[in-house]
């Protein structure tokens, strides 16, 4: 199941194909659980039973820490249950039921315990009187199999051996959500026998009421499930991540317009998109920024952020950090790998001229269905420095590198950004990130010192971006004689006067922030004066 789920997950990169695969799996769960719970004609109207199982499985799909393997294993479990429960009671069937338990554990993990307990419950309520207690041996046998798996170290912990914890990110504690499909299966399999007794199919009015109540309960269940497990917060980030992965920078910017963003990851994606479009400094304050973490969330040792961190560092030309994040993300990815991050590792190793290792990664990608074409296209760069330099992407990043075997370190933050801009003054992304960092940190001395340094070295553009001009005006407010010399435009000067006028006018007004925001929300002055940041 692990291999099958990893195989299928590779298709999730194709829009809607992942959703289609999950929908098919969920539909099978619905169909099979319908057959399982509603075996008798009189119980057919109790669609709430399979529907709740279906919905609970759907909710698990929203949580990206729950492996797809869990859903497939659950499907296999109920399929086996359906086969054996609907089969005629015979010695052969009973032998196969016992054989299925270790087989199921080997194929799909702890769902074998669920299978055994469910089968026992079914037999307990429906089987022959003499045999029913005898089936208690089945869950005991399943527990023994799981215990042995842990005891012999095939499985790491008892939770992973007996519970769906095996289908959750290894280093995290699973939420209650992961147990809901299991609990529902246990409940419905227990009551399935009694459902026909609540026969409401006789009178039409009873039938309508019964169906209506079920619909209402399902709507309530669905609504509560979406509220509690819908993971709407991560939906935005997942969407942005998809756009970033496919270099759809305009879509990230469009998706951020008019939004009051509080999620640092969202702001990180936005700033990356602005940088890639070459307008980070120009447009960043049109969106709400919240300190230096808006550029790159603190360098946490968290594999979830690896792809984003790798992308940001690749964009600014810190290839070492990009490679590091891609590598760590790859090695800690669920299932032990990620085509996306391996692509990045191919690129970083080509940039460094580490062709043997790039070739190894290309060879691995060539074994996949969806990355094969791209991987083969990268073969031309192997052991060919001049072609790498000529390539628009690789060549541009190669220019960002300091001389080979130098002793410059990457520490992240402004120090590395400064090193990168010193190495390659044409590296506009690094320079924009550097000045963006200085502006967001609100350290005006830091800003004016570095501005002077860059000015002396002639590394500044002829036309300064508006936020930089606005910051300069703050630094040299009392020296109006040098404003023009510093590159501050008449427009900015006029705007500053208007800002100051309005501020003086409403300085005692408790709503001054809102008043200033209406007129000057997209200025650096407003950010500096009214946005609180964590230092």
């Amino acid at each position: 199941m692990e291999y099958l789920s990893h195989f299928l997950v590779q298709f999730f990169i194709v829009p809607y194909l992942g959703a289609a695969i999950e929908t098919i799996a969920l539909l099978f769960i619905f169909i099979i659980s319908s057959k399982l719970f509603l075996r008798q004609e009189k119980s057919k109207l109790f669609f709430i039973a399979p529907a709740t199982v279906f919905l609970s499985c759907l909710f698990t799909c929203f949580n990206f820490n729950i492996f797809f393997q869990g859903l497939l294993s659950f499907l296999l479990c109920i399929y086996c249950l359906h086969i054996f429960i609907s089969a005629k009671d015979s010695l052969l069937r009973n032998i196969f039921v016992f054989v299925t338990v270790p087989l199921l554990y080997w194929l799909a993990g702890p769902v074998s315990v669920l299978f055994a307990v469910c089968f026992f419950l079914n037999e307990l309520f429906t089987g022959e009187n003499k045999k029913r207690i005898g089936w208690l041996f089945l869950p005991v046998f399943a527990c023994l199999v799981s215990w042995l798996a842990v005891r012999l170290s095939f499985t790491g912990s008892f939770r992973a051996g007996f519970l769906p914890d095996m289908y959750y990110q290894t280093k995290l504690s699973p939420p209650f959500l992961i147990y809901i499909p299991w609990l529902l299966l246990l409940i419905w399999i227990s009551v399935a026998t009694f459902l026909p007794k609540f026969n409401f199919s006789g009178k039409k009015s009873y039938r309508a009421i019964g169906i209506g109540i079920q619909f209402l309960l399902l709507i309530l269940f669905f609504w509560q499930g979406i509220v509690n497990f819908g993971d709407r917060a991560s939906y935005e980030v997942k969407k942005l991540d998809y756009y970033a992965r496919n270099c759809q920078w305009d879509r990230i910017i469009t998706a951020s317009e008019g939004k009051n963003m509080h999620n640092y990851l969202h702001i990180n994606y936005l700033n990356l998109a602005l940088a890639e479009k070459g307008c980070l400094l120009e447009k960043m304050f049109r969106f709400n920024q919240k300190g230096t973490s808006s550029l790159e969330v603190s360098r946490q040792r968290n594999n979830i952020l690896s792809a984003l961190m790798s992308d940001i560092n690749f964009s600014i030309g810190d290839i070492a950090s990009s490679q590091r994040y891609a590598f760590e993300g790859y090695e800690t990815s669920s299932g032990g790998g990620s085509g996306r991050l391996l692509k990045r590792l191919v690129q970083t190793n080509l940039i460094y001229g580490e062709y043997a290792i790039a070739e190894k990664y290309i060879r691995i990608l060539e074994r996949t269905l969806l990355y094969r074409k791209w991987a083969t296209s990268q073969r031309q760069f192997l052991y060919n420095d001049s072609l790498c330099r000529k390539d628009p992407l690789l060549g541009e990043k190669i220019k960002c590198l300091p001389p080979r075997d130098g002793r410059e370190f990457t520490t992240g933050g402004p120090e590395t950004l400064k090193v990168l801009t010193d190495i390659n003054p044409a590296n506009k992304t690094a320079q924009d990130y550097f000045f963006a960092y200085l502006l967001l940190s609100k350290d005006m001395k830091f800003f004016s010192d570095f501005f002077s340094q860059y000015e002396q070295k002639g590394m500044l553009p002829s036309q300064l971006s508006e936020p930089v001009q606005q910051a300069l005006l703050m630094c040299y407010e009392s020296q109006s004689g040098i404003w023009k010399e510093k590159g501050i435009s008449e427009k900015t000067i006029g705007q500053y006067k208007a800002y100051k006028f309005l501020f003086m006018k409403c300085r005692n007004n408790p709503d001054k922030k809102e008043i200033m925001q209406k007129e000057f929300a997209s200025t650096y002055w407003f950010y500096f004066q009214f946005i609180n940041i964590e230092k």
Partner: protein, 488 residues
């Protein structure tokens, strides 16, 4: 009807027989060049008890044939994809018949309708067996994050690999620095970090958890080496840091900001040291006992501001007398390898069990040679005080952590020569007088195994038999409070 079924079956059997049979090559053209093989097993020296050295031809034709010829025996193997899988039983017989001799291998490749022959090459079969098991940690050659890792053992006489301990048993924590007492699989230790952190000591069939951080030492115990008696283990205690280069072949610089050497007494649960091993102005690390247990080797360097001056930190290889009876050290330190004279840095001193050779790693600077491309193995003959030529062992890439077989005739070490990043175990023969044979890569059943394998072989250690620890019991012991060691 029934008869025709039998006929089809027979035909299929015949077809499959002929398709798998080795073609009889009578005419061929000599290429005049050696075959390009992976792994490179041309002219290597191998132990008489090693698993078949399966390999592949890097540029295969439409069909390949391998002839293996030795004293009294010959083998022919056919391949349709360039990979040669030598039948284990026949390989074993071939080695047995040619112990101390040489087998000749000839590769033929078919292109179109004609065959070409590469230059034949030899594999030397040493009569010296290698210890049957190799223990290593499998981990991605990463930075700070990891997921699954473990310590594994490989049966060198076949391809069987089993776990000694996997971190899934204790919440995917870090496990490292496994070490054995004189290649004895029954006496071992390794560290665990994280929530259930501690040093796991396996001795006399018992597993003990040790809490090894004391108020008098700068860290918990780190790099180990057992005293041959099994009573003591020398350790370094280190404050280790790492930085990442922007553009350097070595990627990462790992360095100590402080370090000392201490000795742990397994009977008394005590740590002791000497001022010579814990000088605050010096960095002392990588201890290693001589096989007679009377000398403790270690590496020592002057401190410099790190990481800025980390390239100035160069470790000399030193030794100091050790008196196990009184748990004391001599008062004079000898310098075996002088960093100031050579301008290089030494690490991992390991003496052959017969006491004749001192094997250590040398790199440009620092204490973490695995991230130094220039790292090579050096071997000093302690009898003649001369260095042995190790050119057949070393490569242009990293050649680092090493250990000896119990008969002193084999070394195993980790090398990044294949792709520059993933360390692979290499085994080399050391003659009685120190002549080093060409090293060979740990053979795998599938010669393409290493292509897609994304983990490094870390700390390869040869052992005399199978490690029979119970991971479940170790995990259980790890969750116990453990014994806190004292500093004397």
């Amino acid at each position: 009807m029934k008869q025709s079924k039998y006929a089809v079956g027979l035909l299929l059997c015949l077809l499959s027989f002929f398709s798998c049979s080795v073609p009889d090559i009578r005419e061929y053209k000599d290429t005049g060049v050696s075959p390009d093989l992976f792994p490179d097993y041309i002219d290597v020296t191998v132990p008489c008890n090693i698993a078949p050295l399966n390999f592949r031809l890097q540029q295969p034709g439409t069909r390949e044939v391998l002839w293996l010829e030795g004293k009294g025996r010959a083998l022919k193997i056919s391949s349709s994809d360039g990979k040669f899988s030598i039948p284990p039983h026949q390989w074993k017989n071939l080695l047995e018949a040619n112990k101390g001799g040489t087998i000749k291998l000839t590769v033929f490749s078919k292109e179109g309708e004609s065959w070409k022959r590469y230059n034949p090459f030899s594999i030397h079969i040493s009569a010296d067996p290698v210890d049957p098991y190799l223990v290593y940690r499998l981990i991605e050659p990463g930075y700070e994050l990891w997921d699954k890792m473990g310590i594994y053992q490989r049966d060198l006489e076949n391809y069987d690999e089993s776990a000694v301990y996997e971190n899934k048993m204790t919440g995917y924590n870090c496990v490292n620095c496994h070490s054995f007492c004189m290649q004895n699989p029954g006496e071992m230790m390794f560290h665990m970090r994280g929530q259930d952190g501690g040093t796991m000591l396996v001795k006399n069939g018992e597993t003990e958890k040790l809490n090894t951080k004391t108020d008098s030492t700068i860290s918990a115990l780190v790099y180990p080496c057992w005293h041959p008696s099994g009573r003591f283990i020398a350790f370094s205690v280190n404050k280790i840091e790492q930085v990442f280069y922007l553009n350097n072949r070595n990627r990462i610089e790992v360095f100590d900001s402080e370090s000392d050497v201490v000795v742990y007494d397994t009977d008394e649960h005590e740590i002791f040291t000497s001022p010579l091993l814990s000088d605050k102005k010096m960095l002392e690390t990588f201890p290693g006992f001589s096989p007679d247990g009377k000398t403790l080797y270690f590496c020592s360097a002057k401190t410099f501001p790190v990481p800025v001056k980390s390239d100035s930190v160069k470790y000399s290889l030193c030794s100091v007398p050790f008196f196990p009876g009184t748990r004391t050290f001599g008062e004079k330190v000898d310098t075996v390898f002088n960093a100031e004279v050579t301008g290089k840095s030494a690490s991992f001193p390991r003496i052959s069990p017969d006491g004749r050779f001192l094997l250590f790693t040398v790199c440009g600077y620092g204490s973490f040679p695995i991230w130094h491309k220039e790292a090579d193995l050096y071997m000093l003959d302690l009898k003649t005080k001369k260095y042995i030529d190790m050119s057949k062992v070393n490569s242009p890439d990293v050649d680092s952590y090493h250990s000896w077989s119990s008969n002193s005739r084999w070394i195993v070490f980790s090398s990044r020569r294949t792709d520059g990043l993933y360390t692979r175990p290499y085994i080399a023969h050391i003659g009685e007088n120190g002549e080093a044979g060409k090293a060979f890569m740990l053979p795998q059943k599938d010669p393409s195994f290493y292509d897609a394998f994304m983990k490094s072989y870390n700390i390869p250690e040869l052992v005399k038999g199978e490690v029979k620890t119970d991971p479940y019991c170790i995990a259980g012991r790890a969750k116990s409070p453990g014994v806190s060691v004292k500093f004397r």
